[in-house]
């Protein structure tokens, strides 16, 4: 159930000492902690100002949270305001919150003052002392709030345990002298499970329970017992009842115990009823006589009976109940609920909002379209049935209108058959078969010497396997292949041509894309290098010429013209012979170039490995490792940098 008054969400209020620890450790955690006297004085000031300001803000935030979370008595429903006044004393409550508010302001002003003083701090020491003084003064202010804080914590805990009563909903209030059976009644109508004991003032505070009636949700409030004395003398327990009676629009059930087992005479109880009668004004009131199992109205002395009957005036009705025998409980509850509902409806009708609702109610009546009569269609069978029933009823002589139209319902059958759990529902009754006689026939396990098992094929597995094999064979033979024979010679030729045309078109599109005027073009040189001999021969082939021509042309184009004409044949001869001798290029290993023979090479190799041994052992960088000689070359890192970056110079 959603209640607008939920006091369960108020955050816990720490004690003064804890409060300080929380705030100061938060400051320590959330602000910088390292400062040195060598820092610039502005930085030191800034450091300490931040600490002071942060502490002040944390205090402010925490106190503000408390101040906003606790309900303001002027803003809550008068019932809750009054209840809180009774339980926690309004003045005390307001004072506690007021003191916290003052403390908040004091802390704010301390923070402000010291931040101002810190602006004139000229050394780390002085700044630190000022911060210390500021935090100390804030702490002192907070320590003085010790009592307020602990009081508010207690209030919070109690508030969270208050029953969540919705002051505006449909409510029944149970009241009366102590020990007259209020809580017993409450336990009977709701699931509240209130403690019931044979002594007075078992119930010490309000209890709420919920029940359903007419598909509506009702709350029932059990109140502590009230004694008959002036309002000033009432204690806290009684005052809670009075508060509930005074502020809630509810149906009041005033319980009286005629047996006087509660320890109070009937006349006492009736006089209490009269004395708190002003609280019942404009509320449906019921005078409930409880414990009828012990004593009823007929058993009491006539003068007392007279007293009770006198109490029943207009607006007050009388009922009897016994929680022990469970008689009269439902009647009492229904009466109280009905009267309250009736009153609420009347109130609503009187109110100004009702016109808005009434205007919305509209029964649509379609206008006549033509002269054709269109009456309600009632099936023939129904009419016949109705007539039949009417005749039966006339014969029987009763005039009762039966909704079931004489049909026997399953529910009636169930009641006849011994109620739920005993009656067995007949499921076969409505079977639809060729003959009604078959409905209850038993399905035999064996008929004509056979049962279900006899109809099962013993070699079903085998048959299935055979079928699958056959299928496989057919698939292999190509029974399920799509027919491809339709393509004959003519069609293939056409398709082939189409494919070539498509390719050709694609190539044309690509070349036109390449030759696009707006596109960035390759230089002539680059373009020339793109075309190869293969391309050329392919092109020739396409044209139907001899592709060997391409090679020839290319060779001719690439070859440099010899100096055959100008050169002396002898020289030419000598050159060509020397060229032949150099057909295989000489491998020159520079590591062995200055060495005479194999022996010296081995010796060099050895001395080299010896020299490198130590470096390798120590995993030091050798000659072969990559080395950056200068990580920051001076010319890249010096000079003005008004424009450009270092690597762009």
């Amino acid at each position: 159930m959603s209640s607008i008054y939920n006091f369960k969400k108020i955050a816990p209020v720490p004690e003064a000492g804890d409060f300080l620890d929380i705030v100061l450790s938060k400051t320590q955690r959330k602000t910088p902690t390292v400062v040195h006297p060598g820092y610039k004085i502005t930085r030191i000031r800034q450091f300490y100002m931040r600490k002071v300001k942060y502490t002040q803000e944390t205090f402010d935030e925490k106190l503000h949270q408390i101040l906003t979370e606790f309900p303001v008595l002027d803003n809550v429903h008068p019932f809750y305001a009054d209840l809180m006044n009774v339980l926690y004393d309004k003045d005390h409550y307001k004072l506690a919150l007021g003191q916290l508010n003052t403390a908040k302001h004091l802390i704010d002003s301390v923070g402000k003052d010291y931040v101002r003083l810190l602006k004139f701090g000229d050394s780390l020491y002085r700044c630190k002392q000022l911060k210390r003084a500021a935090l100390g003064r804030m702490a002192t202010v907070m320590k003085r709030q010790k009592d307020s804080l602990s009081y508010l914590e207690q209030v919070r805990q109690h508030l969270a345990r208050l029953p969540s009563i919705d002051p505006n909903t449909r409510t029944l209030i149970v009241c009366g002298y102590p020990n007259v059976g209020k809580s017993s009644f409450m336990n009977k109508v709701t699931r509240a499970d209130v403690d019931v004991q044979p002594y007075a003032f078992t119930t010490k505070s309000l209890f709420v329970g919920h029940m359903d009636y007419k598909y509506l949700r009702w709350q029932v409030i059990d109140t502590p017992g009230i004694l008959d004395h002036p309002l000033e003398e009432r204690n806290t327990i009684e005052m809670q009842s009075i508060t509930a009676l005074a502020h809630l629009r509810a149906s009041v059930l005033f319980f009286i115990d005629l047996s006087e087992q509660c320890g109070y005479t009937i006349s006492d109880q009736i006089s209490l009823f009269h004395s708190i009668k002003p609280l019942f004004a404009n509320k449906p009131t019921l005078l409930v006589m409880s414990k009828t199992d012990v004593c009823t109205i007929d058993d009491v002395r006539p003068e007392e009976r007279q007293l009770v009957e006198n109490a029943v005036s207009d607006g007050v009705s009388l009922c009897q109940l016994s929680s022990y025998h469970e008689t009269g409980i439902t009647e009492t509850r229904d009466l109280a609920c009905d009267r309250l509902l009736q009153q609420r409806v009347e109130m609503k009708l009187k109110g100004s909002k009702i016109s808005g609702v009434l205007n919305r109610i509209n029964v649509a009546q379609p206008g006549r379209r033509d002269t054709v009569e269109r009456p309600v269609h009632i099936p023939e069978a129904v009419l016949r049935r109705r007539q039949q029933l009417q005749q039966q009823r006339d014969a029987a002589g009763d005039d009762e209108d039966d909704e079931t139209m004489g049909r026997v319902l399953e529910r009636d059958l169930e009641i006849e058959g011994g109620g739920a759990g005993v009656y067995n529902v007949d499921l076969k009754k409505r079977y639809l078969l060729a003959s009604d006689e078959w409905k209850y026939d038993v399905i035999p396990e064996i008929i004509d010497g056979k049962n279900v098992a006899d109809f099962v094929d013993p070699d079903i597995e085998e048959k299935l396997a055979e079928l699958e094999r056959e299928e496989e064979k057919l698939a292999a033979e190509g029974l399920y292949d799509s027919p491809d024979e339709s393509m004959d010679e003519e069609e293939r030729r056409i398709r082939d041509t189409a494919r070539r045309i498509r390719e050709r078109k694609q190539i044309i599109a690509q070349t036109s894309h390449i030759n696009d005027v707006n596109r960035a073009k390759l230089t002539a040189k680059a373009k020339a290098s793109v075309s190869t001999t293969e391309d050329f021969s392919e092109h020739l082939q396409r044209l139907g010429l001899n592709p060997a021509l391409a090679d020839e042309t290319a060779q001719r184009a690439g070859r440099k013209r010899g100096r055959s004409e100008s050169q002396d044949p002898a020289v030419k001869m000598a050159r060509s012979s020397s060229m032949a001798a150099r057909a295989v290029s000489v491998i020159r290993d520079r590591s062995v170039m200055g060495l005479k023979d194999e022996r010296s090479r081995v010796a060099t190799e050895k001395s080299k490995s010896m020299a490198m041994r130590q470096r390798n052992l120590m995993a030091r960088a050798g000659e072969a490792d990559r080395a950056i000689q200068s990580k920051k070359p001076k010319h890249l890192f010096t000079g003005k940098r008004s424009i450009g970056s270092n690597d762009r110079r």
Binding site: S25, D113, L117, K119, F120, D122, A133, R161, K204, H210
Partner: protein
């Protein structure tokens, strides 16, 4: 729906779990070890706070124990032999007294001594000019440096009017001006917040006196009208001297001792 005293109600109806008492006892027995473990592990500010708390608890505990010890202590008395006849079996016994070590009178005396107020400060620390004043640069190019700002709390009387800012040599910032002092009356042993009337003497320098600088050891005149002091002649006193006992620039407030 749980409401009102539902926890107590539940305990009353269904009782506690069977081993509740045992668990409770064990938890309590374990607690000391847990505390010790935590005390060894904790560090930083939390350690400081925690150890301080434990320290004070320990002191309190020791005091309580000692008080119990004293209650049971037996002390020798000076007059060993009691007056009158003593039975033979008591003769070799020394006189004993079951009493606390300190008499109440002695305790009272100690308390008084501790509470005695010190004489006002006879000596003060010298304060150099550069600590007292901050040079304020003036001029269009901030090249002139003849202006000074007082960096200590000052008292500025109600009737003070500033010189024209152009010629004002000493600036006394508004944030550092004080009008009230927390004055302790050494005999009444009570502290009052009293308005300052003027600065009588700053021991550092007559110039500071003139400027109304409030430093430790400064003699100020305070308005004691609300204390209701009277002279022997029956006249109501309203101005009295007091000496500043704290460093106002470090504390942000002025604490003074009334000179009586």
């Amino acid at each position: 729906m749980p409401q009102n005293e539902y926890i107590e109600e539940s305990i009353r109806r269904h009782g506690r779990r069977m081993d509740h008492a045992e668990r409770k006892r064990k938890r309590e027995a374990r607690q000391v070890h847990k505390d010790a473990e935590f005390a060894q592990k904790v560090h930083g500010l939390k350690a400081k706070l925690y150890n301080k708390k434990r320290h004070s608890e320990k002191i309190q505990m020791k005091k309580t124990l000692k008080m119990h010890d004293e209650k049971n202590a037996k002390q020798k008395t000076d007059d060993a032999v009691p007056d009158g006849a003593v039975p033979a079996y008591l003769l070799d016994r020394e006189g004993q007294q079951r009493a606390k070590v300190l008499s109440n009178m002695l305790k009272q005396k100690r308390k008084e001594k501790a509470g005695k107020w010190n004489v006002p400060l006879p000596k003060v620390r010298g304060i150099a000019e550069d600590e007292m004043f901050k040079v304020v640069k003036t001029g269009k190019s901030k090249s002139k440096a003849w202006k000074r700002m007082v960096t200590k709390p000052t008292f500025v009387g109600d009737g003070f009017t500033r010189k024209p800012p152009k010629y004002e040599r000493f600036i006394r910032p508004m944030a550092l001006r004080y009008k009230k002092a927390n004055v302790t009356h050494p005999e009444l042993k009570a502290t009052f917040q009293l308005p300052i009337i003027g600065v009588k003497k700053n021991p550092q320098s007559p110039m500071y006196t003139q400027l109304g600088v409030l430093t430790k050891g400064t003699i100020i005149e305070v308005n004691v009208a609300e204390l209701g002091l009277v002279t022997t002649g029956g006249k109501v006193l309203w101005g009295k001297y007091a000496q500043i006992t704290n460093n106002p620039e470090n504390d942000g407030c002025i604490n003074a001792l009334l000179l009586v």
